[in-house]
Every structure is written in structure tokens, then in C-alpha cells.
């Protein structure tokens, strides 16, 4: 599962993309967030952390498919 990273999440994770091994057993957004929190404690200091699936904000219980485009969305600050 490949995760696109933007803004401060690139700094916290130390890369522009993150490959999560299949044996992590992630099936939904909640699972992804729990796995990320365990691997990258720095993410918990953020004001918020949303996940986008196929370029739309995802709900916490949304299921993930292997071909989804998944991205971490830290607090936005455009304008």
C-alpha cells in the first residue's frame, strides 16, 4: 500500500511516499491511522491528520482497496 505524503508529514516520515507492507494487515482508515501512530509518533503532535482516498476526504471507517490512491492530509494552510 503506497501512501502519498505532503507538507509536514514528509518531514515526520522522512520521505515523499510511504510503502506499507501487506503484512501490516491494514483494511480501513482507522487501521491505517493506528499503524501510522505506532510507527511515527511525531504524527500525534499534529493539530489534525486527515486521509484522502482517491482524492476525496475519507471517513474513519472507510475500507481501503489495493488500487486506491491514498494520501495523508495534515492541517491545510492555503490562501
Amino acid at each position: 500500500m503506497e501512501i502519498l505524503l505532503f507538507g509536514i508529514t514528509k518531514e515526520i516520515i522522512g520521505a515523499g511516499k510511504l510503502d506499507i507492507p501487506a503484512d501490516a494487515g491494514i483494511t480501513d482508515i482507522n487501521g491505517l491511522k493506528q499503524w501510522l501512530a505506532g510507527q511515527y509518533p511525531g504524527l500525534s503532535s499534529l493539530r489534525s491528520l486527515a486521509v484522502a482516498v482517491n482524492r476525496c476526504y475519507a471517513k474513519e471507517n472507510q475500507l481501503l482497496n489495493s488500487n486506491d490512491e491514498i494520501a495523508l492530509i495534515p492541517p491545510v494552510s492555503g490562501g
Binding site: 507538507g7 476525496c56 492555503g78 490562501g79
Partner: protein, 136 residues
């Protein structure tokens, strides 16, 4: 609708798009780089976008504005990359028969853009840099 993410804002492009002979009001708001923040001098801003999603979110906001006000045209342009104090980073414009609609609609669009569009501002001071809004 003129919706784009670009390196550089050309104000005439927005105005030329928005102008319409049926309209008596064209409003173009420009957001620019301020040379200070939190009591410190700002050297530059660097904007990053998740472009494909940002354009989708921008379009959703524009469509909501069109539902709420009688707008003829809408332009939303946001920059990415390095911007220096004084430079324009975002342009939001609308045209309509009368002024009230465009004043209200451009304010609405800017407020919503700041809430949901996946664009990030990295603010550089002379001694450090921060991702704006990242931490509580």
C-alpha cells in the same frame, strides 16, 4: 469557471475571464505574502499542493458558491512554489449583475478554501521555518 494551480498569478487573466457585458460587478481578491508573522520577519513562503485533489476541492467550493449567489463566472487561482513578500499567492474572483453577490461570494470562497483545500504553506523566517497551522 477558471480554476487552476500555477507558479505565478496574472491578474489580467482572472479579470479578462471574469469580465462579462451582462455583469455590473467584478470582484477580484488577492492574497499576498505578508513580510511578518508572530513578531518575526518573513523571508519567504513556499506552497505545496496535492494538485489533483486541490483542484477537485476548489471546484466543489466554486459550485457551492454558484448555488448560493447569482454569479456569472468564478475564478480561483492558487500558486505553488516559492513566494516573496508582496507577491500574490491566491486570486479569487467572481462576476455578477450586482456587487453584493460578488463581495459575499469571494469572501465565502476564500474562507472555505482555507478550511479544506489541500495546500500547505511553509513559512521561512531568518532563523527557522514552520509549516503553518500544523501544530496546535
Amino acid at each position: 469557471m477558471l480554476l487552476k494551480i500555477t507558479d505565478h498569478i496574472i491578474i489580467d487573466e482572472a479579470y479578462n475571464y471574469l469580465q462579462d457585458d451582462t455583469c455590473g460587478a467584478v470582484n477580484v481578491f488577492l492574497g499576498t505574502v505578508r513580510n511578518h508573522a508572530h513578531g518575526k520577519a518573513v523571508i519567504k513562503l513556499v506552497f505545496e499542493a496535492y494538485e489533483a485533489m486541490a483542484l477537485q476541492e476548489i471546484q466543489k467550493i466554486a459550485l457551492r458558491a454558484k448555488e448560493q449567489w447569482p454569479l456569472e463566472k468564478i475564478a480561483i487561482i492558487h500558486t505553488v512554489g516559492e513566494k516573496l513578500p508582496g507577491e500574490a499567492v491566491v486570486a479569487v474572483g467572481a462576476s455578477s449583475a450586482h456587487r453584493q453577490a460578488v463581495f459575499e461570494a469571494t469572501a465565502f470562497i476564500m474562507n472555505e478554501l482555507k478550511k479544506s483545500v489541500p495546500i500547505w504553506k511553509h513559512e521561512y523566517y531568518d532563523d527557522e521555518s514552520v509549516w503553518v497551522n500544523a501544530h496546535p
